[in-house]
């Protein structure tokens, strides 16, 4: 029973962090190259434009949900299961979501890299 709780919490973590990452990436794509923008209009404009972007605010909220689900998951399961499972599933989920929602060209090179990194994280944190 506890395993079901733990795995549901892990799935919530993965879902929330993927949603958060995609929203944050989309927000920053709209803001544009931060370095160039800062040289042109100053740091205040960069910060204002980022914080004023609705995608950014929702992204931060999704990240907060992911963080609190992590706390819950850690209270039900071992850190040696929760942390690597959540991290490596998030890598795979992000590759899929970036392709669908951000229209990034996730070619074979990036698929292989995402799988290698996910496997590596699982081994390292386990």
């Amino acid at each position: 029973m506890k395993a079901i709780y733990t795995w549901s919490a892990i799935l919530v973590i993965v879902f929330a962090s993927v949603v958060g990452d995609v929203l944050l990436a989309r927000a920053m794509r709209q803001v544009g190259d931060v370095g160039a923008l800062r040289r042109r209009s100053g740091l205040g404009v960069v910060i204002g434009r980022t914080l004023g972007n609705p995608y950014f605010l929702f992204g931060v909220m999704a990240m907060a949900v992911a963080f609190f689900s992590l706390l819950f998951a850690l209270s039900w399961g071992d850190v040696s299961l929760v942390a690597p499972a959540a991290a490596s599933l998030t890598f795979i989920g992000n590759a899929v979501a970036a392709r669908i929602f951000l229209h990034e060209k996730v070619d074979r090179r990036r698929w292989i890299a995402a799988s290698l990194v996910a496997a590596g994280v699982a081994l390292l944190a386990g």
Partner: protein, 164 residues
């Protein structure tokens, strides 16, 4: 990708790893926080290690957002995972802890994965967007044109309308 951008990516890696380890070091000193005693989280912030950890994670967030403004999510994310490798290397060579063979394999996989990504383009070129990395698009167009010429007769195989 220029030197400044690689520096930002290095910042993403280092700030994430340093912030996480400061935070976990501080939280071990303050003790665990239960869901029923969330006020413990407020006192945890008073611990200097936790405070430094939070500052470092804010720096991580700023560099991460900067990187996402000019690179793909699937390009930046593997860079964050290099932090795990960094932590394992610090554990082995600075703290002289034992690192198991399985963890070395994990290090090798992550490093290999990041190397794979770093060899490719950092940003997907959309037809309406103009980025600083046009060589990829030019190469793709050249490849498409070449295969079109090979596949068809030279008369109807002119690469008009070939667009990546």
């Amino acid at each position: 990708m220029n030197f400044r951008k690689y520096l930002v990516l290095a910042g993403v890696t280092v700030f994430a790893a340093a912030g996480d380890s400061m935070l976990s070091h501080g939280m071990k000193q303050t003790g665990s926080i239960s869901v029923h005693h969330l006020q413990g989280a407020i006192f945890a912030v008073l611990n200097p290690w936790v405070a430094i950890g939070i500052l470092l994670l804010l720096a991580f967030f700023a560099t991460y957002m900067t990187a996402l403004s000019w690179a793909d999510l699937t390009y930046v994310l593997p860079a964050t995972s290099l932090g795990y490798v960094l932590l394992a290397l610090v554990a082995r060579f600075v703290l002289h802890e034992h690192v198991s063979p399985l963890r070395w394999l994990g290090i090798a996989l992550i490093t290999g994965g990041v190397g794979f990504i770093a060899g490719g383009p950092s940003l997907t070129e959309h037809s309406h967007a103009k980025g600083d990395d046009t060589s990829q698009e030019a190469r793709a167009m050249a490849d498409a044109a070449k295969s079109a010429l090979l596949a068809k007769d030279a008369r109807n195989g002119a690469p008009t309308g070939v667009r990546s």
